[in-house]
């Protein structure tokens, strides 16, 4: 479980996040939704320590993270997997080396064990015989799957996904969504997914937080999101004519 309390942050005098609190439950896919520029990625980066919030605290199963130094954060980071928007695979390393890398840094596994673990993770994301390929030789969907494989290679307790479906076709998006959902439930991971894809919201959203202009305006389940009376959330969820018609029918 991850709990954030009163997170606020500003850049160059501009308020990006205002007093956001939320509890992200373990074994659930917790979604952060909101329009582009609403502060979702900044919030996630505050949670993992890539940004330091001006105010507020982040608790990983009761351990306060935001005020620790680099070495102290390192012990918690061993339990974190993160899927970046563009995959963030290391260009100079092959697929197998990318997956083995965090194992080499964070564990004392032998080379054989690391290779076995890499193969297991690749199989888990339905990718095989790509071990020696380089990121430049992979499609967008394959890159995302390799990035997921790398994120789960260290058996994380906390999984962060920043727009896992961006740039992917609808079918591949569903594959990635299902993969995240399965992994979350299978390993009881606390998963946090940033998205503005409503298909993803309806497919995998166990708990949802809606951010608008840096403030949390709504939280609830995917069932509740369809019947919300929050005007900003209605504008966000029912942005297309198709979705507006669905709302009218309901």
């Amino acid at each position: 479980m991850i709990e954030i309390k009163n997170i606020s942050m500003s850049f160059a005098g501009r308020q990006i996040l205002s007093d956001i609190s939320f509890v992200f439950e373990a074994g659930k896919t917790n979604l952060i939704i909101g329009a582009s520029g609403s502060g979702k990625t900044v919030l996630m980066k505050c949670m993992v320590g890539l940004h330091k919030p001006d105010e507020g605290e982040v608790f990983y199963d009761g351990r306060e993270f935001s005020k620790l130094n680099f070495n102290e954060k390192r012990s918690i980071r061993k339990e974190i997997g993160m899927l970046f928007q563009g995959g963030a695979l290391f260009d100079s390393q092959s697929v197998e080396e990318n997956i083995i890398f965090p194992l080499s840094i964070l564990t004392d596994m032998s080379n054989e064990e690391k290779r076995d673990r890499a193969n297991f993770c690749l199989k888990r994301v339905n990718l095989e015989n790509v071990n020696q390929l380089y990121p430049s030789e992979l499609s967008g969907g394959m890159k995302k799957r390799v990035a997921i494989a790398r994120a789960i290679s260290v058996q994380p307790k906390y999984l962060f996904c920043d727009e896992p479906n961006s740039g992917l076709d609808p079918q591949t998006s569903i594959v990635i969504d299902n993969l995240i959902k399965e992994i979350t439930h299978e390993y009881k991971i606390t998963t946090i997914v940033i998205t503005h894809d409503m298909n993803s919201v309806m497919e995998i959203g166990d708990e949802i937080m809606f951010i608008h202009n840096g403030s949390k305006l709504w939280e609830g389940s995917k069932e509740e999101v369809l019947y919300t009376e929050n005007p900003q959330l209605i504008d966000f969820v029912f942005a297309t004519r198709f979705m507006k018609e669905i709302r009218k029918k309901n």
């Binding site: 980066k45 993992v48 320590g49 890539l50 680099f70 954060k73 390192r74 980071r77 061993k78 974190i80 993160m82 970046f84 928007q85 563009g86 963030a88 695979l89 290391f90 260009d91 890398f101 965090p102 080499s104 840094i105 964070l106 260290v154």
Partner: protein, 246 residues
């Protein structure tokens, strides 16, 4: 103000670069990769420039030292001192600032804008140490060999072209390069080389590491890396010459 900001941030970054690595084994592997990439990858350009610059220095020396009171071995002497004292350590370092400096800044800058550095940090890796430390160690180790190689090729090029064009006889040239040779000149050149190698890698890495934005900013960082490392090399060339040769 901006100068002090960058100086402060540069020294803070260097402080993080030289902290204890997470796993020495991984760092050493990276050092050898960097030696291959930064050092051996520069052999071609260093060879071509050294041979032709050695030839030109010899021909210009022969042209300018043409007179009844000037012995012909002065051509070899001028070539030797020009190459050992200035051309190989300084000019080749400036060339390397262009070649490996831009490469380092664009590599690290691209990693920054594609969130690869964030990914390292999430994994509990000190990204500045992991990315920059091996490059600095590799360059400081391999550049002196490159410079010695450049000296050898420069003097050989001068000899070959000087003799082929009839500007100097083999005996006079060899006599000139041996005449009153001071081994300290080599030490001086190597001290400069090590300092310049540190300047090139650390300044270029600094500009790459603090890149923000996209492809345009990566290009700008690369340009800044070359410009600032070249300026600092010239500044330290003056300082070291003043300290070591006077």
């Amino acid at each position: 103000m901006s100068l002090f900001f960058h100086l402060g941030r540069y020294f803070l970054l260097m402080g993080r670069v030289f902290t204890r690595p997470e796993k020495f084994r991984i760092y050493w592997k990276r050092v050898f990769e960097e030696i291959n990439s930064l050092g051996l990858g520069s052999l071609g350009i260093v060879s071509i420039i050294s041979v032709f610059m050695g030839a030109v220095i010899t021909l210009q020396a022969a042209y300018n030292l043409d007179g009844p009171w000037i012995p012909l071995y002065a051509v070899g002497l001028g070539t030797r001192d020009g190459i050992i004292l200035e051309f190989s350590p300084t000019i080749i370092s400036l060339v390397l600032a262009g070649k490996i400096g831009s490469s380092i800044a664009s590599e690290i800058g691209t990693m920054r804008v594609t969130e690869q550095i964030d990914a390292l940090e999430i994994m509990g890796v000190n990204p500045s140490g992991y990315l920059i430390f091996p490059k600095i160690i590799a360059a400081v180790f391999i550049n002196p060999f490159l410079i010695i190689y450049s000296m050898f090729l420069g003097i050989s090029g001068g000899y070959a072209f000087g003799v082929l064009t009839g500007s100097v006889t083999p005996y006079e040239f060899v006599y000139g390069i041996q005449w009153q040779f001071k081994p300290f000149y080599i030490v001086y050149a190597l001290i400069k080389t090590v300092v310049f190698a540190f300047i090139i890698t650390s300044i270029s890495a600094y500009h790459g590491f603090y890149t923000h934005g996209g492809a345009l900013e990566v290009g700008q960082s690369s340009t800044k890396a070359v410009v600032y490392s070249s300026i600092v090399i010239l500044l330290f060339n003056f300082i070291l010459t003043q300290l070591l040769l006077t």
